[in-house]
């Protein structure tokens, strides 16, 4: 099925060249599409000939090179994406670990921190000892501290 008038291009060409055949003139009188096309063809012709470019186009080799760089950057980002996801996951796990550990033994931790106050230091010196902290807590702190250090170093070195 033809969606446009079959004379449309001929009419545009005739309007551009100012050469009208009788057939086209006859058709123009009865076709609204072609009348509209003919009415603006001259202006469009002038517009297309009006060279608006004042500076040269970017060179093909520069565009090619930029496109390659962009492609490489995107490829590198694509490759690095799983590592980035893993890194954020690790931050989350370590932060959750610290939060969990502190929540689990918060009373003990609080008492341990209070033990540094002068009153507690005197009490300790007089033989009144603070409640003992389980070994698992120390182990947890060592593991989480190691992981935190590892993540911090990894982040710094990766950025560098």
């Amino acid at each position: 099925m033809n969606d446009h008038c079959r004379y449309e291009h001929d009419v545009m060409h005739a309007a551009r060249e100012s050469r009208w055949t009788e057939v086209l003139q006859g058709h123009l009188a009865s076709c609204e599409d072609c009348q509209a096309a003919a009415a603006v063809t001259g202006f469009m012709e002038n517009l297309s000939e009006d060279n608006a470019r004042v500076r040269p186009l970017p060179s093909a080799s520069a565009v090619w090179l930029k496109a390659q760089l962009l492609r490489d950057t995107l490829a590198a980002e694509r490759v690095a994406r799983p590592f980035t996801v893993f890194q954020w996951l690790a931050y989350f796990v370590v932060a959750s670990g610290w939060a969990g550990l502190m929540t689990w033994k918060w009373d003990v931790v609080r008492q341990w921190m209070l033990s540094f106050t002068p009153a507690h230091v005197i009490q300790s010196a007089s033989g009144l000892t603070a409640p003992s902290i389980p070994l698992a807590f120390y182990a947890g702190i060592v593991v989480l501290a190691s992981l935190t250090m590892f993540l911090a170093l990894h982040t710094i070195l990766a950025e560098e």
Partner: protein, 191 residues
């Protein structure tokens, strides 16, 4: 008049040499340069007539070719390449308009200064008149009259059904005729 929608010579030759069958290989630098030389000028003009801004046209032209190369086009599928370029350029230009409109709204919210974006860089009366049309109308008219694209090609470039192109093009032509009339540039004056 340059018909950028027509097949570039080097591509026609390679297609004929391969008997019309398209070997599946990406474009290399030499092929890209030839293709760029044959299309960049008309594509820039198209973008410029849409945006009315030379710097933005340079930028959008490069972005269009970046996307074109990222899509890893098949050298022999000429129809695909041309349509892809013009469709991409049209989409980027429309995005550019949306962004400019958003910025303008923000600027107006911050201060009561009205900036008529398309008129900022216009030096030519023809372009000034043309910029009174909507972006889609400008694209339709440019593709139909300058690129001599078929309704199907225009439809693909603008993302509309080719059956709608006839109506849209008719309206755009009538609108341009009205604008020309308002400026005292009737068809007989222009021609």
């Amino acid at each position: 008049m340059i018909n950028a929608m027509a097949l570039p010579g080097h591509l026609m030759a390679s297609r004929e040499a391969s008997g019309g069958r398209a070997p599946q290989k990406p474009m290399n630098e030499a092929q890209f340069e030839a293709f760029y030389r044959s299309t960049a000028g008309s594509l820039w003009s198209y973008i410029y007539r849409l945006t009315g801004n030379a710097a933005a046209s340079d930028d959008l032209l490069q972005k269009t070719f970046f996307r074109f190369l990222r899509a890893n086009p098949n050298v022999e599928s000429d129809e695909h390449m041309r349509r892809y370029l013009f469709r991409t350029a049209t989409n980027l230009a429309m995005d550019h308009f949306r962004e400019a409109k958003r910025e303008r709204v923000e600027e107006q919210a911050a201060a009561t200064i009205t900036v008529d974006y398309p008129a900022r860089e216009l030096k030519h009366d023809f372009q000034r008149v043309f910029s009174e049309l909507k972006p889609q109308e400008r694209a339709l008219l440019w593709l139909a009259h300058v690129e001599e694209a078929s309704h199907d090609e225009i439809g693909q470039a603008l993302g509309v059904k080719s059956k709608s192109v006839r109506v849209l093009l008719f309206r755009a032509r009538r609108r341009l005729a009205d604008v020309l009339k308002n400026h005292g540039l009737g068809p007989e004056v222009v021609r």
